[in-house]
């Protein structure tokens, strides 16, 4: 039980990362691929936060007196994840706008059918 408790967050985070990677690598539909990217992002964010967790810690906010600085969880991954979330939404929005335009040009979002350019 203990080992499950210890690794459940890592397990969740990496499951999301692998599901996301699988969707991106295998699926044909562009919107599906972008959904995969979004799940991948969420997984990475969860992983980063898990790295900074401290058992029995508190949130890094001195909202009430008596909180000990040494018992707070690490704030740096949280700052990194705030940045990563915004970067993720930026990439997703751009990808979706491109897919809207791609659909206008080709009438399909199937990536196997869109092969105008060859290697």
């Amino acid at each position: 039980m203990n080992i499950i408790n210890d690794y459940i967050y890592y397990f969740g985070a990496f499951s999301l990362i692998f599901i996301g990677l699988y969707i991106v690598l295998v699926k044909k539909n562009l919107i599906k691929v972008i959904i995969g990217l979004s799940i991948l992002d969420t997984g990475i964010n969860l992983f980063l936060i898990t790295v900074g967790y401290k058992k029995g810690g508190t949130a890094p906010i001195f909202s009430e007196p008596g909180l000990q600085a040494s018992e707070m969880v690490d704030p740096v991954p949280q700052a990194m994840v705030l940045t990563a979330i915004v970067i993720g939404v930026a990439v997703l929005a751009l990808a979706l706008s491109l897919s809207v335009r791609l659909y206008k040009h080709y009438g399909t979002l199937n990536l196997r059918k869109i092969k105008e350019l060859k290697w």
Binding site: I17, A90, V91, S99, E116, L117
Partner: protein, 491 residues
């Protein structure tokens, strides 16, 4: 002393202000990138001699390095900012005449942001900050590839974006591992502690980081986006993507492998990768009909050569690699700019449609020839000393594998020469008997000025290679002497 942070802040601030200038007058917009990059060029040139004496450290917010973000303006960083500002400045001159249709304002904002991201990547000393600036570079390139909004542009932007986003995710996972292992994000701090952890746990984040940055650096097998993206972008952007963006990806890899990891065990792996990339690029370039696709594949080949040279791992090898890198930047930017103007004149990207260009556009054709000969490595041009330095460095290594690889590189160079000669032959010696009257035409100044400056730089450095080679020695030493780098950041 000028604060190196201005190299990032001035273009960024002006890029933010462009919409406000747009309210006043749309006509002045195209001169803003020009202005910003000119000031960057001045600052970089002013800083260059200073950082050769002593590395300048800037701590953002006044917090000392492992706690705050720091900028490291060392010889390598300032050499790169000078290159970025110079190429960016000349290409922005070209863009004043070239970018006429579509959303001009947005083009100029994204162009400035792209170069800001590139400058940030080479200056920062913090690995997460490097990731953020790298994302600015990537996202602006994705959008700029789709500038024309035609079928090919959108499709290649989508390809580029998906592969780039996967790469960015890998980088972020790698950074997460490094933070978990070492509890710090400062590159010098990680480098100082890198030997304290086991070999394999440290090696896996390195694989993630190299895979991530390898997408932008176009190292085989991560480069399938490049020929599409570089050939369907506007020519001025192709010049920047080929001449600067992939080099920035390579910079990130080199910085991590040399300074952070000191992974000399991986050098032979990179030597092999470099040669494979080179051979594949040159072979694919040989069979192309489309001029821009040919140039894009040639970029893959060149980046393979540069990778090979840098990962020989000796001071001469790195100097030669950096020389070739600068030469490729100038040469490829020149080729894309001239090819872009010829495409604009003929309306076709097919090589065979360039027949008789030597008569019709004599100056542009001449400049194109200079760029092509320089990339082949013919003597009076810049490519010759570059390739010569690389071969010399490889032969002094006394390593049988490196010597064999250099033989493959020479064969690949012959292929390169073959396809460039083919184009030059089409431009000058074909279609002479054409019945239609080909009137001589002079390109506008916005094309001629940057093109001739590039050509002049290539010829000048080709005649006096010592000048540049001496400048590039210090950056090479900065990469090799990682202990000095670490000590200078964390005393």
């Amino acid at each position: 002393m000028v604060n190196p942070v201005l190299l990032i802040i001035i273009p960024l601030g002006l890029a933010l202000l462009i919409p406000l200038f747009g309210f006043i007058s749309v006509k002045i917009l195209k001169y803003i990138p020009f202005l910003a990059l000119f000031s960057n060029l001045i600052i970089s040139l002013k800083l260059l001699p200073e950082v050769y004496r002593e590395v300048i450290h800037v701590s953002i917010g006044g917090f000392i390095p492992p706690f705050g973000i720091n900028l490291v303006a060392g010889p390598l960083g300032i050499m790169f900012t000078t290159l970025i500002a110079l190429v960016g400045f000349l290409v922005s001159v070209y863009a004043t005449g070239y970018i006429k249709e579509g959303s001009e304002e947005k083009y100029h904002i994204l162009y400035l942001l792209l170069l800001t991201g590139a400058t940030g990547v080479v200056l920062t000393g913090d690995i997460f900050n490097l990731f953020v600036f790298y994302e600015i570079l990537c996202i602006s390139s994705y959008s700029l590839v789709a500038y024309f909004g035609d079928k090919a542009g959108i499709e290649s932007a989508v390809k580029y974006l998906i592969q780039g986003a996967l790469g960015s995710s890998f980088i972020l996972i790698g950074i997460g591992f490094l933070y978990g292992l070492f509890g710090t994000l400062n590159m010098a701090d990680i480098a100082a502690n890198i030997s304290s952890a086991g070999t394999l746990p440290v090696f896996i984040p390195l694989v993630f980081l190299i895979t991530g940055f390898g997408v932008e650096a176009a190292i085989f097998p991560l480069n399938s986006w490049l020929p599409d993206a570089h050939s369907s972008a506007p020519s001025s952007i192709s010049a920047i993507l080929s001449g600067l963006a992939i080099e920035i990806g390579l910079y990130a890899i080199v910085r991590i492998v040399f300074t952070v990891y000191d992974a000399s065990g991986m050098f032979s792996f990179f030597l092999l990768l470099g040669v494979i990339t080179l051979v594949i690029g040159e072979l694919c370039a040989f069979s192309q009909e489309n001029i821009k696709r040919m140039l894009a594949f040639s970029s893959i080949g060149q980046i393979g050569l540069i990778t090979f040279a840098i990962f020989i791992g000796s001071a001469e090898g790195i100097t030669g690699g950096l020389f070739q890198l600068v030469g490729h930047s100038f040469g490829k930017a020149l080729l894309f700019l001239t090819a872009g103007y010829m495409i604009y004149e003929t309306g076709s990207t097919n090589i065979s449609s360039f027949e008789g260009m030597g008569k019709k556009l004599p100056y542009t054709s001449l400049a194109f020839t200079v760029g092509a000969f320089s990339l082949i490595g013919l003597p009076p041009f810049m490519g010759f000393p570059g390739k010569f330095l690389i071969v010399k460095a490889a032969l002094t290594e006394q390593d049988i594998i490196i010597n064999m690889l250099i033989a493959i590189i020479l064969i690949a160079s012959i292929i390169e020469a073959a396809y460039f000669f083919k184009v030059v032959q089409v431009i000058y010696f074909k279609g002479e008997s054409g019945s239609m009257s080909r009137k001589r035409k002079t390109a506008p100044l916005s094309v001629l000025i940057p093109v001739f400056i590039f050509a002049g730089l290539i010829i000048f450095t080709g005649i006096y290679p010592k000048l540049l080679a001496e400048v590039l020695e210090q950056p090479a030493l900065e990469l090799l002497h990682r202990v000095d780098y670490i000590k200078s950041v964390i005393p």
